[in-house]
């Protein structure tokens, strides 16, 4: 009894301590919340705080680069950057949306993945680039970069990357099956979907898989429809293209041209095709994918583990021919142009009213507007810029591992053209809904459900999500 009592008293005391500490925590924020919105930024000495919301670690790296540059000293002396990282997409969206509607808690600067960049642009409290004081020469950019986050003609966000799509293929397999591993020849064998399918047949005959899974071709087809899923709140389906996509995917799956009759992207099975454990001929990649996804995953042994720092190029020592499939890859435009992902930068209206928009504009300009600093960042990471003017200056460093990964091919040459062909008329801020519906439809169709039924399912999903179906 006594022991119990003591335990109980102890726990109650703890509870009180905990709630008191919680109350203190509350005091902090409520005192800053009750002040005017400028105060919220908190003062650290004389410095104002710029709150940054992001979904990727890369932002930290980028801000470090920004701070190191002497040219930004004026801004760095005046402002502190406070980065908040939330990696789970659904939570990140809700967090940004909730915070943006609050004067006290809104972030000054926030970033978005392509999946929800259009949604962020649509938010009431997302400032326009002009409001932030960012001026840019629109004709310098690949058009899709600015169009993607424009709302009623108002430019609201900008990206430092252009994420043009391109197909990565195994040169050694091409040589065996198609007779040549050179990009020009392979592109001829895959220049449209009919030839693509023919080539797939040849791959199967020799015991190779054309692609990894049934979700590999989705982006490429969806970027080449004749219109977005939603137009003026109404559901629209480019039935011909969607049908073509579904039927091709099913034929590939049935003829054993896909390694798996399953979605494989971002799964171990997908990576195992890259490193040659299973023999997959090609991947539908893109700019960042080249150095961020396929190169680090094409090697089988990696020795640089200890000094990894989040930067995918860290383990340079492992990028040698003979390690996995390193040095066996080639890059071609593939059957159709498309884009994949990208990171867009936004400022909030609260940043303008708090007077932090100067710092927001400086950071965005540093990475997304100024040619020199953009070029420097691209060279450092191997990424691809959103500005044609910068892209024109870039050539692949013949000593770089990316150059060696592609067996001496300069990827910039190809991607420059590919980025120009990107068409965002096929995108809407609701694509997330339809990607899920399309995935479900693909699985069902490959599994034997009729075409009418799966198309009807997509339509029903649109109706369920609140779009007018006619």
């Amino acid at each position: 009894m006594n022991k119990l009592k003591r335990v109980l008293c102890g726990t109650l005391a703890l509870a009180m301590a905990a709630s008191m500490m919680a109350a203190c925590g509350g005091d902090d924020s409520s005192s800053s919340g009750s002040g005017n919105s400028g105060d919220n930024s908190g003062s650290n000495g004389d410095k104002k705080t710029v709150k940054v919301y992001t979904f990727t670690e890369e932002t930290q790296t980028m801000l470090d680069i920004f701070k190191k540059d002497e040219a930004n000293k004026a801004i760095v002396d005046k402002y502190d950057f406070d980065i908040v990282l939330e990696a789970t997409a659904s939570n990140y969206i809700q967090k940004v949306a909730s915070a943006l509607s609050s004067d006290a808690d809104a972030p000054d600067l926030f970033l978005a993945d392509a999946d929800y960049a259009q949604q962020f642009a649509a938010y009431e409290n997302t400032a326009s680039l002009a409001d932030l004081g960012i001026t840019l020469n629109e004709s310098d950019y690949y058009t899709y970069v600015l169009d993607f986050t424009s709302v009623d003609g108002v430019r609201k966000g900008v990206s430092h990357q252009a994420a043009a799509g391109a197909v990565l293929y195994r040169r050694d397999i091409a040589e065996e099956v198609l007779g040549s591993g050179e990009p020009e020849e392979v592109q001829k064998a895959m220049s449209d979907w009919t030839k693509f399918e023919e080539t797939a047949g040849k791959m199967v005959d020799k015991g190779y898989y054309m692609i990894s899974g049934i979700d590999e071709l989705k982006r490429c087809f969806m970027n080449n429809r004749d219109g977005a899923w939603v137009q003026d709140g109404k559901y629209y389906c480019d039935t011909a293209t969607v049908t073509q996509y579904l039927e091709l995917t099913k034929r590939l799956a049935d003829s054993k041209a896909t390694n798996y009759v399953d979605k494989t992207q971002w799964t171990p099975n997908w990576y195992n095709g890259m490193n040659g454990t299973s023999n997959v001929f090609c991947y539908f990649g893109c700019t960042w994918y080249l150095h961020y996804t396929i190169k680090p995953n094409c090697v089988l042994t990696k020795t640089g583990e200890a000094d990894k720092d989040g930067n995918p190029q860290a383990a340079e020592a492992d990028y040698v021919d003979g390690n996995g499939t390193f040095g066996k890859w080639g890059l071609i435009p593939g059957p159709a142009g498309y884009f994949w992902g990208g990171t867009w930068w936004f400022g909030s209206k609260q940043a303008v009213s708090r007077g932090t928009s100067e710092a927001v504009a400086a950071v965005i300009s540093y990475f997304c507007v100024n040619d020199a600093s953009m070029e420097a960042y691209m060279k450092q990471t191997g990424d691809f810029p959103s500005k044609k003017t910068v892209a024109a200056k870039l050539t692949s460093d013949t000593n770089s591992s990316t150059y060696k990964f592609l067996a001496g091919q300069d990827h910039y040459v190809l991607l420059k053209d590919a980025a120009d062909k990107i068409n965002v008329k096929t995108c809407s801020q609701y694509d997330d809904t339809f990607n899920t519906a399309l995935d479900d439809a693909t699985v069902a169709f490959v599994g034997g459900t009729s075409l009418e039924d799966v198309l009807q399912d997509i339509e029903d999903a649109a109706a369920s999500a609140g779009f007018t179906v006619e």
Partner: protein, 330 residues
Amino acid sequence: MASSFKTRAKLEKNYFGYIFIAPFFITYLIFQLTPLINTIRYSLTNAKAWYMDPNQNFDFVGLDQFKAVLEDKFFKEAYYNTPVMWIMGFIPQILIALLLASWFTNEKIRVKGQGFFKVVFYMPNIMTAATIGILFLAFIRSNGFIHNICVSIGYVKDERYAINSEWFGRGIVAFINFWMWYGQTMIVLIAGIMGINPSFFEAASIDGASGWQSFWKITMPLVKPILLYSLVTSLIGGWQMFDVPNMFAEGDNHAAFSRDVTTLVMYIKKLAYTGQFQVGKACAASVLLFATTAVCSLILFYIMGDHSEAKAKRLEKKRAKQAAMEGGDY
């Protein structure tokens, strides 16, 4: 005189009831009442998520949202999937939990190391659904351990094919639910059984009752309130099932059977967070879900018959009557 004094004292004491329950209701009023009222209010409007429409320009649309929900084929699917998966998981869950609880509290069997077993059986519940998701998704994915078994027994055509059978999907969700919760139910039941006065068992044992008899004649009736608790909370949890099936349906590489394991709350969340951000429709679906749960719970209460309550009530009435009669006498 004496009795009237007693009644007044009792009344005064009963007043304490309000004081005891006050913190609960005050906290609820502060933190949860507004969200509750909003849910009901929005269900009658065409409201969108407040961040898409900060000025909250929405119209009252009567029961249109309810109509829209009831006509939605995905609602119907979810309304079927949810109870089916719950029942598939719950039946083994309650049976195993009862069995284990009766074993562990049985003085005659005296299971050695039962402290260890109790701890271990509860452990799956400690893990978050996300962690379990990572593990099980890896198991059922092509080349995963469960997938390999399915291939080798011929359930899946060959190793290239994903497991996409709807019943496999529902089965695995039910299995995970069972696996995560039977330990919890067992602990609840053990706590309930241990709350029973040991002298009952002693008496039964002296009367020569077998373990089986004392289980049915003593344990079961006395543990009924706790059993009812387990049933009702599991039923509510079942209708609100979300975490486990959601991990098969969310993200870039969701399972092939994701649609067959979509539950009502997943459907509701989808309405509110994607597409047109139809908070109004989501709230209408929530109200329907609430109504369903309430009806099911009432049925359970009715079947299980909370006799102790009724008895207490009858007794109370009798006493009140007696008091009134005595008062009349006086």
